[in-house]
Symmetry: D2
Subunit: 408 residues, 4 copies
């Protein structure tokens, strides 16, 4: 826009410099396609989104829309809620393919994926990545469906984890699930690697492993990646909230040296978006494309735009600070729990976990957590020793316990 | 809120009456759970959504959130985009189950479904209904997955239709597709009922039929529902933009007398939401619940809230007016096309369709549509006679043609 | 912003064309500085305002603000409410002078004034104009204060009108008011021109006349402008809601041939803004500048931006349509009132007025209007014959009456 | 709103508790009419404003508005910008009087004034207060106009201060200004008390004193209040940004023991609103009412609502913290300047000022500040010794200097 000749030249110049400075922040991102170091103000992000949405064909002021059925939205309230990307994202053929009706939304999506890749790269993960308009569970389903198409997988080996969504995802895409039961190793609950190995061999399998657990369950993605490599078996990792912590990132880095076909993480847990978006990343660009082909039709632009907003608004520097804080909080939590344990004659479970800890209790843990909940202390989870889903252990765990998190 | 004793009593009384009058509009809807006759103002809808979102536990001002990983959103911009329903909708177990962390979003979802049912009922469809947070294609996938779980369906009989998303949906959930090829009946392209019948018999089949077509394809859902009834075969109808027109609604009413397990429609095409939401409805409440169990995990609240906003903002009276207008537009379109056809020595295709018409052309239809597109007349679709996907006909269609819509 | 190389060239091209088309609407306005013929979409207006606000120095991302006391706003909610023009408008020296800290707001203000002038010109008023950040009453005060500074005016001759704000304006700036009483001419209440003439002669006077009245008061601005011309006496016209009607505009055109120093109108009554803004216009550009010098300090940017938004969103074509509608409504109102009057044996007052009519009543008119008010029919005003302020007549008017409007 | 019977009772109960807890925060404020201790979230503030705006008669869904000319706003964008208070605030008779058409806006205004009073009281100022919809300059004008009406004041004694707005305010209301020239006392520039005393005696005077200065000017409001008490002369204090600092508050407390008719402060400088609002406070409730009677007509609700938002969003606890921070920043600034002065052989001016400091310079100070400005270090002000307006001294000041602030 040309704002010349309204006010005296020296003021105009100043104004233009400030505007240019602001726009240059956006242009730099558009050019470098990398998560900015410093987070960006909301109003600048809005400006970017508004400009992009004005590229979508439903915004064409000169278009004569004969009987068009699309992208006509009843209220401003609704349009705003998708940042004016009324056409959504994706194409009937492929989620990440540019949509001819929506060049703006298509660029927005592409930019999101590129910033996401740069973000993961800066964290040490040299992968290709896409943001998905669905949360972790459905994103896993997309991966599994791609596995079947490409590798004729018929069965998913699932080392038992106390999460329902992945099991539902397996069911949605119509694969058989082969559960590998967990065993006790001191306080730790873990699926024996040799059992996983045995399960793999039985057919056209792939493994869906889990990285981010509550104690007492411990992860073993690197070992699984090794076996998958050895037996040439596809491997998806459910890494829901892994991106926020270096311990997990290191595990992923190591696993990626062996067989990992795709990793799925959540945007709400790692990037502070509202619930509804996912991230899928992998070194196997071809497989990533295949995953994107799994999605039937178009989807709301809201979750993608929200992932973009988070990447822009947080910035890499702040994200690293948040990661550092999380680490310190976890350390503090451990110290406090140890102290408390001594005082009340209980134990902190000896389980490796960079985010959560758990303390044994002789009381009814569900009752304790319930009381805390009523006191509106949310977060702590009480698990009874016999609760298979809580302990991730199909037998009876030695202790009742209460789990506490220190997440980002 | 108590606004007493700030201003003189008579003014206070007036103010309270006006406020009460406004709130009573909302309360009436909450009580009757029926789409309002008159559409509601955006600011009132916002008030409803704000009040509901203040019920979600992440809004608890007294909560002590120890290490909570959820519903912390980085910017106001993002929170607003989901109407502050940061927790999303659904539960890992079931899409429509209330989520303990999000009583507000759960009520919002329930209300949406109830208004949706009342809306469909008023249109003559006595069905149970749910809004889904995904568009038509993925909603069909949810139905198909439920079919497999309940009826052990292995194969989807698919009378050929020129839509990619349903085919993708079949692929996502890992079912076999048995295509029933279409044949020519004068200008009309149709899948022969006897071919569908034959296909059904071959195994553990279900049928995915289509109601809303572009010419020259004509629908046959009632006939298919009859065969499905006869052979006891499940039947899903893809009724993408059917709700806007009584011709289609009548077809659905008739089909529902026979075997129909679920009908899927779009919210953007029928209810003017941004792309991203779907509607699934059926007389079989148990099956509807099973469909909702297909969804793995939680989802963005945005598409559900947008469906609710449309229902509230449009109101039933206005919707009926829009339907009437659509009918009149279609009639006008037909007249204009007939006139044009005579003038340029072409024909309007003799195909029954309440929304779209098509006119033959001796020129290259893709070229013509492209020129129109460049003139920014969007809407018209040029289809070459050999374009299998365009004509829904695997052979060569007698004419090149251009399709034009007159949708709601 | 450079959105190149994200998506295939042909889509990118389309997107850029649509964006350019949208931006060209804004650029055309920035270039022509004329009210657009077609109204502009809200999102485009927002884009313009956002770009401008990013020119203000408080938005400078590189500025090091040592101890700055300005333009730091506590919530996004507040920033949005002034369209991010946190610095406000004006300079301590002059309301319409560019503010070095706020080049964006300064351009916004300048643009508003230029569009306003083009708007008035298109309506037939060749004047200079400024938008003020205060409503009619305070805008009149600014004019009166300028009169004193320039013409050493000591007394304002005020042909009696039933409006409190102008009287308050006279009082605020500390001028004496000389009331010219109205007399009865049939149904009409009017200030005798000869009385005004007599009042003028008595000192260092100026006249504050009124154009827009409720019946039975009738205006006489042209006559007053003639006398003011003759006696070389300054003349301000309170033309609160005159812009919406050609009858009034014609009166102003005629008056402007004689002595008119400034005309004041409201933005809420003529341009559908929220209450809070004014318009001052005149052929005397030097005096207009003097008026702008009356304002002590800076002011909220909100009323100015709201005037700009109205001009852009309505567009001239729509405004003319609204004017036409108003005229037709008035005609209809007159017919209905005549009919009613015959039926209930009352009279429609024989008073020239392009917007309002009045019907006599034998009942207590305040009571009738009150009952209507309680039935929530707002608008009608019941006036008792002895109500000096209601009738604009210091004596007793022959009838009780009820006034009804048909405004834009 | 009744959200019962949508979801299971235990979840419903939880949701209702959270909602109630949120509403109780608002209700507590409505009951206690006191600035909250803890700041309130934006979405809760919006909820309050939305509910209030739904009391205004233009929101009456049942009203039949015959020819109404008011509160019809063209775009949502504009409505939002005044928080839906389309009617504005004030009444033609009195700025703070409830407006029958706008019970909601009237309550909002009343609440703002009450919170403001509680805020000032907590700071130690037992005064009555009103928020004004205009900035400091115009607020001073309102006070001055009231002075004339009540005390027949004809002349304003103005101890010279380098601010244009107060001088403009005197001019707007048509009072004579008697300037009291400042003199040098070491580094300090001050108006001699005896000169003020002498000026007072000369006629129907009132004094407009200033509290918040840049160095080298020093304030003397307590002394002036004493003389005004002695000579029974009205006294207005321009205390633009005084509320943020205890030094100034103490001065006001002391002055209030003698003659102070009204104090004027800014909302943008003290309460982080966008520019456009003012605060007037005094122990003389009757005079405060008279001031509110000065305002001719209604005004935009935006500045009032923004003052309310700040009071609610900041909360008293945070405000006290900000005050503490300001004090510490000032201390740090002083130390840094002393250090710098030693290094470059200059002096920090020996002038008492709780917010700003100044350092002498042998270079051209305007040039230095200009260079800093171009380096985009905003804030510092370079003043040449001969600059009467900069130094507040009509003679030549001994030094060129650069002033630096450390404001809240």
């Amino acid at each position: 826009m040309d704002f010349s000749n309204f006010i005296p030249k020296h003021m105009e110049k100043r104004g233009k410099i400030v505007l240019e400075e602001n726009l240059s922040i956006l242009n730099k991102i558009l050019k470098q396609r990398s998560i900015p170091d410093e987070g960006i103000k909301e109003e600048l992000i809005e400006l970017l989104l508004y400009n992009l949405s004005l590229m979508d064909t439903d915004k064409d002021p000169k278009a004569i829309r004969i009987g068009e059925r699309e992208a006509r939205v009843y209220t401003k309230l609704q349009e705003r809620s998708v940042f004016y990307f009324n056409h959504g994202v994706g194409r009937s053929g492929n989620l990440i393919d540019p949509q001819p009706k929506a060049p703006g939304a298509s660029i927005m999506y592409k930019l999101t994926n590129q910033l996401l890749e740069s973000f993961l790269k800066k964290l040490g993960l040299k992968v290709n990545a896409i943001a998905t308009p669905v949360a972790t569970g459905m994103s896993i389903a997309l991966c599994l469906s791609a596995l079947r198409r490409i590798y004729r997988v018929e069965e998913i080996v699932y080392p038992f984890a106390a999460h329902k969504s992945p099991i539902k995802a397996i069911s949605l895409v119509g694969l058989r699930m082969r559960l590998v039961e967990t065993k006790l190793y001191g306080d730790v609950v873990k699926a024996p690697v040799e059992d996983i190995e045995r399960a793999i061999k039985k057919g056209n399998s792939a493994v869906l492993s889990t990285l981010t657990f509550f104690p007492p369950r411990e992860e073993d993605v690197v070992e699984i990646a090794k076996i998958c490599e050895e037996y040439n078996v596809p491997h998806i990792i459910n890494a829901a909230y892994a991106i926020q912590n270096n311990y997990y990132i290191d595990k992923l880095k190591k696993a990626l040296k062996y067989r990992v076909d795709a990793i799925v993480s959540s945007t709400d847990k790692n990037l502070f978006t509202p619930i509804g978006g996912g991230i899928i990343y992998t070194k196997d660009q071809k497989f990533l494309r295949e995953i994107s082909l799994s999605y039937p039709g178009r989807a709301s632009a809201n979750p993608i735009a929200n992932t973009l907003i988070s990447l822009l608004a947080i910035g890499f520097k702040k994200y690293r600070e948040l990661m550092k804080e999380q680490k310190e909080s976890k350390k503090l939590l451990e110290e406090l729990l140890e102290e408390l344990a001594k005082k009340i004659n209980e134990r902190v479970l000896d389980v490796k976990n960079p985010i959560a800890s758990a303390i044994t209790t002789k009381k009814d843990p569900v009752d304790v957590a319930g009381k805390l909940y009523n006191l509106r202390v949310t977060g702590p989870r009480g698990v009874r020793r016999g609760d298979k889903f809580g302990t991730s252990y199909l037998g009876v765990y030695p202790y009742n316990y209460i789990g506490v998190n220190a997440s980002i």
